[in-house]
Point group: C2
Chain length 390, copies 2
């Protein structure tokens, strides 16, 4: 009666969903304040006032048709010019509005890129640990996702394994820095080495940069990748930088220097049409342009990350220092990360197994929660660690 | 390098786009006021104040995370309850929130339904004249679109031809009433006959009702189809009823009575995931719930439709009386509707050939434009008709 594949995708409970439901059940039993839910990547720094004020000003002063009418599919031309100018001012690039395609968030942006590029038999490569929806999005366009094994020492790139996976079938490489779930930011050295390898290949390979966490970096540079490699598509979202995850607004940058700009931009327009993009929400197009160059206050994330990191290290965990996004990705205290996360539940610590992100033996702790919750969780992490030592 | 299919879909200019560009060029030459552009289905009644006021109130008084946070994929549960109650009050149904799936407009709603239902070899049936994107959306999910020939006398359904196209491969039937481009509203008699035929088939067939124009009907009833046929999915949009086309907000109704509710709703969730729906824009979910049961003032559309209809009839055109939406679909004055629309351009009358909607020999005139523009166009339609008579 229905597509078996869609039914499976729509009904199979994800690990995170299962953890979330467990948390709700426990909260009802022991009280919300006794649940330490590190499972969700939901920004908890409130949407900045400047975003709200911009939205209200637009609603009060613009003609309704200017605000709520259809825009052209790539987005309001003036909005695109403004966003391009803002990128140029920050990264020394030379984009204009025609290099941007405004989308309903980064998930739509990357999927539109995948669909625009994928031909029969194509392979896409990404790096563990990675956002698990990549596999679903890549497979939904008829391509295959190959995953480079993780490099736990610093969560940068295992280049030997990467080289092994490159093939004539490789259409594109997907990177996500700052990274969900590892919190790592790819260094200039990593990006330079990665792009040097891509330049040395016999055929053109696209580099798709999934950058919803670009603005969430703590004292480290997030290199702007089009400055390293011509064949780069940057996918951005305001979900985190403006704490607007529900509004679905972001963009794709398609540089002039990309191999065959007209073909790529045209295929992106076609892919957007097929996923019934129509246009990105029109009010939010105007709002993000009005707020271009600004960002949320990231100090609460930085503070939380440091607090949780220090607490975990003190409790005896191994963990790479937080650099960006709002995740830590420590080593589990036993080889089986599912068993470890189950055991953590005894203390109402809700953690996500690393195997879900292609890195077994680790776990993800999202620290986009109340600082006070993190503070109260630290003795529990300590008890959990002690349990493993005894 | 890129998907040839996506490139073609993204770059091939549609007839409407070509007409639009011609109009822009002519406007630069002879002045905006001398162009009579009947080509675009863009609502021109402004977004109602109650919508703006609701949006501002929500932005000013709710916690930002409540407004802009992710919602669950099917939509904010309270919003769904409110919308279900509003539908029940109008149509005597018994829906609850679990029967609704909030989407980014009707285009997303119908495509999610197509993708949820389509299995290899499936056929979907629709009725000419029809919205041409149906073909692209149906083919994008790997199914085939069959088109029932038009019934120009009243633009209701040619049931003989419909019966011929039904087959064991028919997965679903798509109707669009009030109709783009014909302006017809399917009568109770039409819906009853259609659903009787579906009930008499040996296998379950879904009826997908694409209803972005539901509220735009002039003195005629738009029958609520779930009251006629259990296996009905209703796809709705606020693009026209609230003049919010750029904001992308609508919903799917999945009745309890549908064949295997859990399978259908689950597959819809999976299809939404694959098209990276994530959630419908969260502010607009709250706004449409706050404004449930209201609608734009449709009298300007009604007035425009009558004015244009009377003018065309007086000029000697044949046309079915406007019943709904904001389109007339008169007979062209020569068999070749492309040649007719070309000739109309001499008078700067911009019309869309009916062949684009699967009904050659007719043309679409969208009357969602200034009344004064329609008034000034009538002498030109008269001249055009006289040219054909001389």
């Amino acid at each position: 009666m229905v597509s078996a594949k869609m039914y499976e995708l729509g009904t199979k409970k994800s690990t995170i969903r299962t953890i979330f439901e467990f948390g709700r059940k426990r909260a009802a039993e022991v009280g919300e304040e006794n649940i330490f839910d590190f499972s969700l990547g939901n920004p908890n720094v409130p949407t900045p006032d400047f975003v709200r004020d911009a939205a209200i000003d637009i609603l009060q002063t613009y003609e309704p048709a200017q605000v709520h009418g259809y825009t052209v599919a790539p987005g309001n031309p003036q909005v695109r010019e403004t966003l391009a100018a803002s990128i140029n001012a920050r990264f020394g690039t030379n984009f204009t509005g025609k290099n941007l395609f405004v989308t309903s968030g980064a998930a739509a942006a990357i999927t539109i890129c995948f669909k625009a590029l994928a031909e029969a038999g194509d392979e896409f490569i990404t790096f563990a640990p990675y956002f698990p929806e990549y596999k679903i999005f890549v497979e939904s366009v008829g391509a295959t996702l190959k995953v480079v094994k993780p490099r736990p020492a610093d969560w940068q790139i295992d280049f030997d394994d990467f080289q092994k996976l490159l093939s004539p079938k490789t259409k594109a490489v997907i990177i996500n820095s700052p990274n969900n779930p590892s919190g790592a930011v790819y260094s200039r050295e990593t990006i330079a080495k990665l792009t040097d390898i891509l330049k040395a290949q016999d055929h053109e390979i696209f580099l798709i940069c999934d950058e919803p966490y670009r603005e969430l970096a703590y004292g480290v540079e997030v290199p702007w990748v089009t400055n390293f490699y011509a064949n780069t598509l940057v996918c951005y979202s305001y979900s985190k930088s403006f704490s607007l995850p529900g509004e679905r607004i972001g963009y794709i940058v398609v540089p002039d220097e990309v191999a065959n700009f007209n073909a790529v931009y045209g295929a992106i327009a076609g892919a957007a049409r097929v996923v019934t993009h129509v246009n990105a929400p029109s009010l939010w197009q105007l709002v993000v342009a009005k707020c271009a160059g600004k960002t949320v206050d990231i100090t609460p994330y930085e503070r939380n990350g440091k607090l949780l990191y220090d607490g975990l290290i003190a409790a005896g965990f191994e963990c790479v220092k937080p650099q960006g996004a709002f995740y830590l990705f420590p080593k589990a205290l036993e080889a089986d990360d599912y068993a470890f996360c189950e055991r953590a539940k005894k203390y109402d610590l809700l953690l996500v197994p690393g195997a879900d992100f292609g890195a077994a033996g680790y776990f993800r702790a999202a620290y986009c929660i109340k600082t006070e919750t993190i503070e109260r969780s630290l003795p529990l992490f300590k008890k959990l660690a002690e349990e493993y030592r005894s």
